[in-house]
């Protein structure tokens, strides 16, 4: 084995082939060194950055050069708008996540976001208000190979894959305004191939220097608005017509050409007394990604995501505990971004298998290899006994294939022999002292919702912070997810025995901040629409039977309703996003405090995500099939309720529902028990319109999304359905 390894290293072969030697079977010998993604930090209270989405050939491990969209940016602090800047990542030709953004609570975010994608390089990219089309091949009844349309089939606009040339930035985990220049995912930044940051620098500086962040289109400088109108009309009058209607209604326009200023504050106060906010930005591991409905999955598969680390008291505690001073010690903090790469959306290509028996021709691209910071099974080095903070982000589309897909990071990753793990945060929110002591995920108390063994799991969109202590014994250790070795840790060098905080010692973990104390039982007055509806409020994730969908491996629907068809039509509350025209699906009064019961009426997994405000998990109910004393099949629920403090999250996995045989019913042969998660959340500080959706991004693109609105109490419910943004 050793001889073969050396021989390989000496071979004069092309780079693509050289990359292939990093294959998993010999991963530790061909494994590249782990590196954190490049960073763009804030300075003096401001995160000033240029972020560009563009496209180029990128070398992807195990594949070779693939033409992909990508994020690249730079620190704009002191940038004069003329000189070439030091780009992050420096080399776009090698696949990597977008730059890690690092800010502090209280910082102002000032990002010049540009879309310079050349949409001539991708099929089906136009920002047309129609579904993508794709044509594939199949064997007909006569045994001939024929061309057929394979997409969109029964998918209907806007709940289909479409318009992938447009993009925007979702700052996942931020507590900020969802409107205007904030965490606004209802805009579509269309590509302007030849535009440059230099062109926009002066007007963006003007925007960022305004004493109050603009909240209306009219408040932006005329030169920006006029240039947008000119560029959009050049692309097509229809785009500006949509914008003009929205602007007339007092809304922000949907279409933006080439350049958009994302600017907002990360709320913070020194003390609760006199604080203008009811909740502050939680310091922790957050992230950003493109969030164009119809393209979120494809953009994720192109790698359009990166970490967004927001530092605060949580970090101060860790730095003090380890005597680091003002900054983390080198080699302590590891940013681990899991991604899956595929230049083409699923459902756009037929999988051809005519029985040729050749490996590779019978398998589709899924579940897809999982990369770590763009690397295939890299090797991270730790000294014996040392401790590192791993900030883990699952930026895959989250496909789970009933628990077996690569889109979720399985509990096995955190069960590697010899290592000690202490989870410190979930979804960018630190644990309370009680939860730090209890470790509800690592101790297997919290059900993971997916068909995975018990333990800490990272679903698509989830973040996990863990302190990891290396064993004393030197060696190379494999970290597995879904049975694949996704990371190697080499324990080597001089011993450096570092302590872990003692979970049983209150002084070893900080008290949770005032704005993250437990939400109390909501009062009846804080109810969502419909005002007369049942309470708690139910949100139902489902699918519809449709006979015109091509049925292949179609899952059975409950209650004898037939099959879901394939691909299924994903719904929330029995309809798809905007299926019946403009509609605010969930409307809440500002400061409303509500319990929602999220039910999964399908037999596959889903992940609930809502923007702007995190939520606490009140209970998780997983249906389990059993038999009663008479031997008749029945269902019971395995219910989790927090032993201590409900955990804060912004993505939660919904256990699959369970179809169960019924006996004694005159009409039904099958009953159904939905999976169920109850959350408690409060809608504070920011009014506006945003979304909730399944964070399995293909589900989101294809309908599993709702529009959400928070309105001032004195305008509730009057304004709930007023002036709904056009967003397709």
């Amino acid at each position: 084995m050793q001889e073969r390894t050396i021989l390989r290293r000496l071979l004069p072969i092309i780079p693509t082939v050289a990359l292939l030697f990093a294959a998993s079977m010999h991963a530790q010998t061909g494994s590249p060194p782990f590196v954190n993604p490049g960073e763009i930090p804030s300075h003096d209270g401001k995160l000033q950055a240029v972020m560009i989405v563009s496209d180029t050939d990128r070398v992807v491990p195990n594949v070779g050069k693939v033409h992909l969209r990508f994020f690249q940016g730079w620190d704009a602090k002191g940038w004069d708008g003329k000189q070439p800047a030091a780009k992050v990542p420096a080399n776009a030709a090698v696949f990597s996540p977008g730059p890690t953004l690092r800010a502090k609570v209280g910082d102002k975010i000032e990002i010049m976001f540009l879309n310079t994608t050349d949409d001539a390089n991708f099929p089906n990219t136009a920002a047309a208000e129609k579904c993508d089309q794709a044509f594939g091949t199949k064997k007909d009844a006569n045994g001939n190979l024929v061309n057929v349309q394979i997409y969109p089939l029964a998918d209907q606009y806007p709940n289909c894959f479409h318009a992938s040339s447009t993009a925007n930035l979702h700052f996942h985990g931020t507590h900020t305004t969802p409107d205007a220049l904030g965490d606004n995912v209802l805009i579509e930044v269309m590509p302007v191939k030849d535009t440059t940051p230099q062109k926009w620098n002066a007007v963006f500086k003007k925007i960022f220097a305004m004493p109050a962040i603009p909240t209306k289109w009219e408040e932006l400088p005329a030169e920006y608005r006029d240039e947008q109108e000119r560029l959009l009309k050049a692309k097509g009058q229809q785009y500006w017509d949509v914008n003009a209607k929205q602007i007339a209604l007092g809304q922000f326009p949907q279409y933006i050409a080439g350049a958009f200023p994302n600017t907002f504050i990360l709320p913070n106060c020194a003390t609760q007394d006199g604080c203008q906010y009811k909740a502050l930005q939680s310091p922790g591991t957050h992230w950003y990604h493109a969030h164009k409905h119809g393209s979120t999955a494809l953009h994720s598969l192109n790698g359009l995501a990166g970490a967004f680390i927001i530092e605060g008291a949580y970090d101060d505690f860790l730095k003090t505990f380890y005597h680091f001073g003002a900054t983390y010690a080198p080699d302590f903090e590891k940013v681990i971004v899991f991604q899956q790469i595929n230049p083409e959306q699923n459902l756009h290509r037929n999988i051809i298998n005519f029985g040729a028996g050749k490996a590779g021709s019978a398998t589709g691209p899924g579940p897809g290899q999982v990369l770590v910071n763009g690397l295939l099974a890299p090797t991270l080095t730790m000294r014996p006994g040392s401790v590192q903070l791993w900030r883990i982000l699952n930026a895959t589309p989250g496909s789970a294939f009933n628990g077996g897909g690569g889109g979720i990071i399985s509990p096995s990753f955190f069960q590697t022999d010899g290592f000690t793990f202490e989870q410190t945060a979930k979804d960018g929110v630190q644990f309370s002292q009680k939860n730090f002591a209890d470790q509800p995920f690592l101790s297997k108390q919290f059900p993971n919702g997916y068909n995975q063994p018990a333990g800490l799991m990272v679903a698509g969109g989830n973040r996990v912070d863990v302190l990891v202590k290396a064993p004393a014994a030197k060696g190379t250790y494999a970290f597995l997810s879904q049975g694949a070795k996704v990371l190697w840790v080499k324990v080597d060098g001089d011993a450096n025995d570092m302590p872990l905080p003692d979970p049983k010692k209150a002084s070893d973990w900080p008290v949770i901040p005032w704005y993250l104390t437990n939400l109390q039982q909501p009062p009846a007055a804080d109810r969502p629409l419909p005002l007369s509806g049942p309470y708690p409020h139910y949100v139902s994730f489902g699918w519809d039977a449709e006979s015109n969908r091509a049925v292949a491996a179609a899952p059975a629907l409950p209650g004898g309703k037939g099959t879901a068809g394939f691909p299924p039509k994903w719904t929330i509350d029995d309809h798809q996003f905007a299926e019946f025209g403009p509609l605010i699906d969930q409307c809440m009064p500002l400061n409303g405090l509500q319990d929602w019961v999220l039910e999964n009426h399908t037999t596959v997994m889903h992940s609930f995500h809502i923007h702007i405000n995190p939520f606490q998990i009140v209970s998780v109910e997983t249906p389990v099939q059993t038999t009663d004393a008479q031997g008749v099949p029945t269902v019971t629920y395995k219910t989790y309720t927090p032993a201590g403090d409900p955990i804060w999250q912004d993505v939660v996995s919904l256990p699959a529902g369970l179809a169960v045989p019924l006996t004694g019913s005159p009409t039904l042969t099958q009953g159904f028990a939905p999976g169920r998660v109850t959350i408690r959340h409060q809608f504070v500080d920011f009014t506006g319109t945003f979304v909730l959706h399944c964070h399995i991004l293909g589900h989101e693109d294809r309908g599993m999304m709702q529009l959400v609105r928070i309105v001032p109490l004195d305008r509730y419910p009057t304004d709930c359905q007023a002036a709904i943004p056009h967003h397709h």
Binding site: L7, P123, A359
Partner: protein
Amino acid sequence: MLRNKEDLLATRINIRREGDAVVFEPAEVTFSGAVFWFNGDSEPHAPMGVDVQPNQTSSSVQPVPTGSAAPLPVPLPQSFTYECTLHKGESGTIAIYNDFVPNLSPLAVTKPATTVQVATGGKPPYVIAPSGETSVALVETPQSITADAGINAVLTDPPPTITFRLSATDALGGAVDSDVTIDVS
């Protein structure tokens, strides 16, 4: 594991005007591959009946050899001509190759034969990394009436079972990287 990039990437075909003529650039893809068109002309076109507006790209299409229907198994590689359904006389060509894939292990060879095909398809020439085993030489398989292009393992004094790594790329950029086991009897 991802598939070969040639199977993942839709190949772009440029449409451009040269004088009075409209040119559809020739393309090469694998059987599982797909194409799309970028219309650099000022008029709409419909190659293979797929609409593509000026300065836009079309939908993606997995082309069928011969352009409409082909009896299976399809003899590959082959080149076929397609037409624009909007403009008579406008046409282009697409060459389709077999997918570049390893043959399933374990493979078998019975002496005195010493050669076994370990990968097929793709477009020659191949860039082949040595096997790392002194008893295995990897060489290009010439295309013939009975054999697809590919890669042969030529064995010299092999043990009863031999395992090695096959790493190669073809001229379309497709890659094969897999362990190969050959039982020798």
